[in-house]
């Protein structure tokens, strides 16, 4: 997007300007990015070094370089290699990808729907995926192979999102307010359908489904990284490229159209990319709640409402949150595993309440 209309706009509506309402002085911007990056790196290192299996740090480095084909002369057992390279590294990458996808989708959808409560679940990805997985488990086709569950989740999420979008668009033009309402209604319907499936399932299936609904990165294989990773990265790029039009869309569809935004195309792109990022994440990790909702709110206070900064920051915050939560999931209850969704909720709710409280005091307007 060219700066022209936006600059004019800032003059007219100063509250939309990126710096207008920052609760922190602008100098804090670089510090914010530095702190976030440091946090991300620290969590990556913690995720590589901590776990139920004790591997010494030099040996971890040895394994990592060994995989890159560089022999540092550090001895490590094949089991240590397996723990680091087969379990920890793909799991850490998956956590970052899933978190980044959820965070950026949340930011984009909150902007698109002009609603601070919007999250990736609203467009039906999560409930469509959950319904498809619950159905697959109860019907018994999950025993066909490792791929049934992720594919069912991915397709279920995407199909439902496009059904909701198609429904909202039936009068010729997609009304985002309509899509919000349709999303809520369809989510309620599928919630009932999932409960219905749960009521029929036996103990084993019930726990399978509930475990999946709570999300887990325990089964993150390299294959999942290879397949879900590119999808999430593509979605990230598409969403970041839509940041400019999204800024204008916050004014309203008509205003944005007058400013030269192709509203329908932008809406469809954002909805598709958010569905792709979330759907690929849900397919491998199950439903990881709260991240899409709180990651944008966490960073909005620091970087302001400009989507060009908000969306990358949300992706970063999402990655940090999921990395942190998964670290807890792997280690707190070892040798057993904690459901990831429980931890994201435990971390997410207090953070969210704190942010609400803080923004009520410091921000009079906007979300």
């Amino acid at each position: 997007m060219s700066q022209g209309p936006l600059a004019q706009l800032r003059e007219r509506r100063p509250e939309l300007s990126a710096d207008a309402d920052l609760p922190f002085p602008r100098v804090l911007g670089p510090i914010f990015w530095a702190v976030m990056s440091a946090g991300l790196i620290a969590l990556i290192l913690l995720n590589l070094t901590l776990g139920a299996f004790d591997v010494e740090i030099p040996r971890i480095i040895g394994v990592l370089f060994g995989q890159l084909g560089i022999d540092l002369g550090i001895d490590y057992s094949s089991r240590e290699e397996a723990v680091v390279w087969v379990i920890r590294v793909p799991r850490m990458l998956m956590a970052m990808l899933v978190g980044a996808g959820l965070g950026i989708s949340g930011a984009a959808l909150q902007g698109l729907f002009r609603n601070p409560l919007a999250d990736p679940g609203l467009i039906g990805v999560s409930s469509g995926a959950s319904f498809a997985v619950a159905l697959a488990i109860v019907v018994g086709i999950t025993s066909w192979g490792l791929w049934v569950q992720p594919i069912a989740a991915f397709l279920g999420g995407l199909v439902l999102t496009f059904l909701i979008y198609g429904f909202a668009r039936r009068s010729g033009r997609a009304q985002m307010a309509t899509m919000l309402l349709v999303g809520i209604a369809v989510n309620a319907l599928l919630g009932a359908a999932i409960s219905f499936i749960l009521s029929f399932s036996d103990d084993a299936e019930l726990r399978d489904i509930v475990f999946w609904l709570l999300g887990s990165l325990a089964g993150s294989l390299w294959d999942f990284v290879y397949y879900a990773g590119p999808l999430i990265l593509i979605a990230l790029i598409v969403l970041i490229r839509q940041a400019g039009p999204l800024n204008l869309l916050t004014l309203g569809d008509a205003e944005a159209r007058h400013l030269g935004v192709r509203v329908q195309r932008t809406q469809l792109l954002i909805v598709s990319a958010a569905a792709l990022a979330t759907g690929a994440g849900v397919a491998v990790a199950g439903v990881v709640g709260f991240i899409g909702l709180i990651a944008p709110h966490m960073v909005r206070l620091a970087v302001g409402p400009d989507h060009r900064r908000l969306m990358p920051a949300s992706a970063l915050a999402g990655a940090i949150l999921v990395l942190g939560a998964d670290l807890g999931a792997r280690t707190i209850a070892a040798p057993a595993e904690m459901p990831l969704g429980v931890l994201t909720a435990i971390i997410g709710t207090p953070v969210f309440l704190f942010l609400i409280d803080r923004s009520r005091r410091s921000l009079a307007s906007g979300f």
Partner: protein, 390 residues
């Protein structure tokens, strides 16, 4: 506008269809319940506790020269004296007929075969753990899942939690060479990770017939390298099975309904093809749900329950606990309105013992047979009372 309205109604119809299909498929899916068992090896019998004293007398009067029956009654008496865990465990051991011990001694004499040195074993369901103990290979066990609570010594092993939510790293930390699991074990990615790390993972498909223990025993014996010991145990289980089933034959079989009770209002009834059907028929009963044409698990509906009108309810200890014992069970709509509910005749057995289909299957059948006989005797007694009153 008209066109899009039609499209939206098509969507609604598709939605309903999906919901309907899911219901239909859930009804027909032949899954089995493999609920967690509880540590107490309760042999709590028919009816409420205040009736237990009479009942045991009934059982003892009826007694034929049958090992299982006598030990069954003994188990119940011990249960009444003391309900502590240790006592319960002792009573479980008392239930094992000497033939199994003989078989184990026999097996131990075959010194020619043994489990490979360095084998480190993890079992991810209660029945598999039981079999490893019964094969005398427990020294090689390094961990278990949360459902593996028999024999009581197994509880001393590290607990990996629910078998469907495993932590790959924690498993590798124990350096296992072999992991035995059921289809419930997962998430699937974790099993894959274990295999990539060089751990052999064996999944035992569920078998819902009385051959299940022998199949599992032979397969575990095979992978552990002790096929002869396993064969001896399998044959022993088979022999004991034949004996208890010959004894269980009943010319006036009671109709028994297995209800899988759980918190939250919705109860399931077990029908054809489930383990409960095999159990009930082996113990000389008639599976009320199978007789009513029910296949797999279906939600309990009060009217269908009253129409089926079973003589006895068969439930699992933990399931009975969560609905609030016998009183809670009878408050479930329809439950009090059958012959079983009016008695009330309720047989409750430990989950793993009743539906685990491990090496204790013959004893479980013998117990169930005994409980069914007690109920039969009590019903006959009541009829007599009524005639006398008239």
């Amino acid at each position: 506008m008209g066109c899009s309205f039609r499209r939206s109604s098509v969507l609604v119809v598709i939605g309903l269809l999906i919901a309907w299909l899911s219901a239909a498929s859930a009804c027909s899916s032949d899954d089995q319940s493999q609920p967690q068992a509880q540590p107490q090896a309760q042999a709590q019998g028919v009816q409420e506790q205040r009736h237990q004293q009479e009942e045991v007398t009934v059982a003892v009067q009826q007694e034929q020269p049958q090992q299982a029956r006598a030990s069954d009654a003994a188990a119940e008496q011990m249960q009444q004296q003391d309900q502590t865990e240790q006592q319960a465990a002792a009573s479980e051991q008392a239930q094992e007929p000497p033939s199994q011990q003989q078989a184990q001694q026999q097996a131990q004499q075959e010194v020619t075969e043994s489990v490979a040195e360095g084998t480190r074993l993890i079992t991810l369901f209660g029945d598999l753990t039981e079999i490893v103990y019964a094969l005398g290979a427990e020294a090689y066990l390094v961990a278990r899942d949360t459902s593996s609570i028999y024999p009581p010594e197994a509880e001393a092993l590290p607990n990996l939690g629910f078998a469907g939510g495993l932590n790959a790293e924690a498993i590798l930390e124990l350096e296992p060479t072999l992991v035995l699991g059921t289809p419930m074990a997962g998430p699937p990615g974790v099993l894959e990770q274990l295999e990539q790390a060089g751990v052999e993972v064996l999944i035992f498909e569920d078998v819902n017939t009385l051959e299940a223990p022998q199949i599992k025993i032979r397969r575990i014996g095979g992978v552990l390298g002790i096929p002869m010991r396993a064969e001896a145990l399998a044959l022993d289980v088979e022999k004991r099975l034949e004996a208890v089933m010959a004894d269980a034959a009943n010319d006036k079989p009671l109709s028994v309904l297995h209800v899988y009770t759980r918190r939250g209002g919705l109860q399931l009834v077990s029908g054809e093809g489930n383990r409960a059907q095999a159990m009930i028929e082996a113990a000389g009963g008639v599976d009320a749900a199978t007789a009513a044409g029910i296949v797999g698990w279906v939600p309990l509906t009060p009217e269908a329950l009253v129409a089926a009108d079973p003589d006895v309810y068969l439930v699992m200890d933990r399931g009975l606990d969560v609905v609030g014992g016998v009183e809670g069970l009878l408050q479930i709509p329809g439950m009090a309105e059958t012959r079983a509910g009016r008695g009330p005749y309720i047989i409750s057995m430990p989950d793993l013992y009743l539906l685990g289909f491990g090496p204790r299957l013959p004893e479980a059948i013998a117990d169930l047979t005994g409980y069914l006989r007690s109920v039969q005797a009590e019903i006959a007694g009541e009829l007599q009372d009524e005639t006398q009153a008239e």
